[in-house]
Subunit: 411 residues, 2 copies
């Protein structure tokens, strides 16, 4: 939780953190600033002290809106540094960080780095900085970094934001169901009034319109995958495919707040008009596992145990899993879920071999998303909800929506 | 240009490039793959050979749609590597890159790194990889990297895509003008039918709806800044401010193709109903400089000369500039423009002290955007267009729109 930042820095043995990159669509920066239209910013937080935000003079008012202490990065005369280093931008940027660190009295200790920027720039500039500042140890973490650990437990304000985007997500799923089922049917295809087929691309365009209307964003796109594509978990679906009766459609929707805020993640699987026996059997297996897993979620339990449980349940019903068949592309082929926040995928994860200490701590927000995939049979089913691990031990779906498989047509 | 990639790798003395990160909203990856719903991918291109894309089994079909040679990253058993390194993700990822490089026969030479990922991850994993592979020099470039040099000159296909998003941008600017001027006016404020004022936030929401309707994205938001905010170049404007007669409004709009494709960048300055003499004088100075600069653009000329020219022209009209007053926040306070492509800001830049070899090469796409800012007087004016430096020496605005200052109300 954000309020634990100093404690976490202490336990991770960090004296400061440096967050780099734009003010939007950059989770670490959004987490610490609240977001803002900053082309590029640098934020330094020493342990036990409030963060200091360096931003450009031209963006000073956007910087001020964050409420943080700001400094004008233009005071560090990059043009003169570039002259001094014969136009070598890596060296000039390195020298600028040296000056900034000096001004903040940051001369020793471990400094962890976060924020979305170009990997080459990060490697080049930070390697130069590391060589220039032998008293400081720059720490490049990944996976279970200090900051990702802080971000994985949400405070009430963050929960309300995730709930808010969840309400938008479920409203749009409802709109989509209404939109689809109001179409006429001809030869098992959904058709417009003029008789031309309704395509997946058209459904997605309509979804994006609602996303804009409700003031959200959909930066990662939408999975609306039918038939064979439904059998490939991350296939987004083929825009030109017409919607067809009886096929399984995996509709995985993960919008976020405008300018890269909190995400919500939800999947429903639909069959239009009717489901084949095969699709129905698959759906029932997934729903059974979804319910079993949900009923067994416990505060502070280890995440990996639920991946093992999910494998066990699917295997008992005759499906290959990553435990029984590590590289399988049939059956249950992914993990049970992931954390959700400013990243669509964040801590905790449910890997079979994940660390024992990755747990369902109070404040964590996770997805639970069992699924079954048989691409050769043109079948895929996934059910996914986003849940808040409440401090009182209740696992609360933050925005609910019916899980029915068959969408009956309106006429 | 993309077709120059091998030549540029040669001249930059690079034997290979490694592009890391998601398949969308990640310009280097989009440039080389054409985009696609890949959560994380690694692309390696050796000089003189086609790129190889490593992506997850679950995303194999999205990977295949790129048309590139793909490899399954799940074959590199990250779970086993994590076990081997006691859960240390930096070490496991480093070991995975070692195996990938070995499989590609990449054992020596200079390898440049690109792609948007977390800076800490980049620094941590690549530093470990550098230590593990002494025969290879990992190159972290920034600013005028090899890839940015390739990207700055566009082929005809890229130009058509920029022109396409430009047409959407100008259409939305027209829609916005129509929308605004169809409102009634009460006490110099624009009002809805129920008499409540029309706000900047409402205008922006309408813009986002059109963006979605036309299948584009607006990931960086929109500058629609009035009065004092117009006087601060990157202020995005205050959502709750009502639209008011006579104030300068800087409307800077930079949408991109869906899922992080090519951008367009255009700014108009509007006064609703009428302009004050002061606003009109400022506008005329900006328009004069805009026209002067445009008339003097020449194929292969040095970009920095146009920033000098712009300063000279504004200074002659009595305005402070970055040349006369390096840290000024009054007058002309930024540079003349920037390249536009998969990044909203990319090569070339127009810095006064920029390198002499940064030139208006054939195929470059730039903005020309002189502006004047007097925040204390609640005034700001900027005019911006996106131009293609055609190989025949013509500088073509890719999507035109009238530059009028005053928007007359319809009733």
């Amino acid at each position: 939780m954000k309020s634990d930042l100093d404690t976490l820095m202490q336990s991770h043995n960090l004296d400061a953190i440096l967050v780099i990159g734009p003010g939007q669509h950059n989770p670490p920066m959004v987490y610490l600033t609240g977001g803002g239209h900053l082309t590029h910013a640098d934020l330094v937080k020493k342990r036990g002290e409030p963060p200091v935000l360096f931003c450009a003079s031209m963006e000073r008012e956007e910087g001020a809106r964050t409420g943080l202490t700001t400094r004008n990065i233009d005071d560090y005369r990059i043009e003169e540094l570039l002259k001094q280093y014969n136009g070598d931008q890596v060296q000039a940027l390195c020298a600028r960080y040296q000056q900034m660190f000096a001004d903040l009295g940051l001369a020793s200790g471990r400094v962890a780095i976060y924020g979305n920027i170009d990997a080459g720039r990060a490697f080049g500039v930070l390697s130069a900085l590391q060589r220039a500042l032998p008293g400081i140890e720059l720490v490049g973490e990944t996976g279970d970094s200090m900051l990702l650990n802080a971000m994985q437990t949400k405070d009430e304000q963050e929960i309300e934001r995730i709930r808010g985007i969840g309400k938008i997500a479920t409203k749009i799923i409802g709109n989509t169901a209404d939109f689809i089922t109001s179409h006429a049917v001809k030869d098992e295809l959904l058709v417009h009034k003029d008789g031309t087929p309704l395509t997946i691309g058209q459904v997605k365009s309509r979804i994006d319109l609602w996303v804009a209307e409700y003031g959200a964003e959909n930066p990662e796109g939408t999975i609306f995958a039918m038939g064979h594509d439904a059998g490939v978990p991350h296939s987004t679906g083929n825009a030109s495919d017409p919607l067809r009766f009886g096929q399984t459609i995996v509709f995985d929707f993960y919008p976020c707040e405008a300018q890269g805020g909190y995400y919500y993640d939800i999947t429903r699987t639909w069959c239009l008009g009717y489901a084949t026996d095969e699709a129905l059997a698959l759906y029932e297996d997934v729903l059974f596992v979804y319910r079993q897993v949900r009923s067994q979620l416990r505060l502070n339990a280890a995440c990996r145990d639920y991946q093992a449980l999910t494998c066990e349940l699917f295997e008992a019903r005759g499906h290959p899993t990553p435990r029984s068949h590590p590289l399988t592309t049939d059956g249950y082929v992914h993990s049970l879920g992931h954390g959700v926040g400013l990243y669509i995928h964040e801590l905790p994860f449910f890997r079979l071999n994940g660390p024992e200490q990755m747990r369902l701590a109070p404040g964590v927000v996770i997805t639970v998303e069992p699924g079954l995939y048989y691409p050769e049979k043109n079948l895929g089913v996934r059910l996914e909800d986003t849940l808040w691990v409440r401090p009182d031990g209740v696992f609360e779906v933050l925005a609910d929506y019916p899980q029915d498989l068959v969408l009956p047509m309106k006429s």
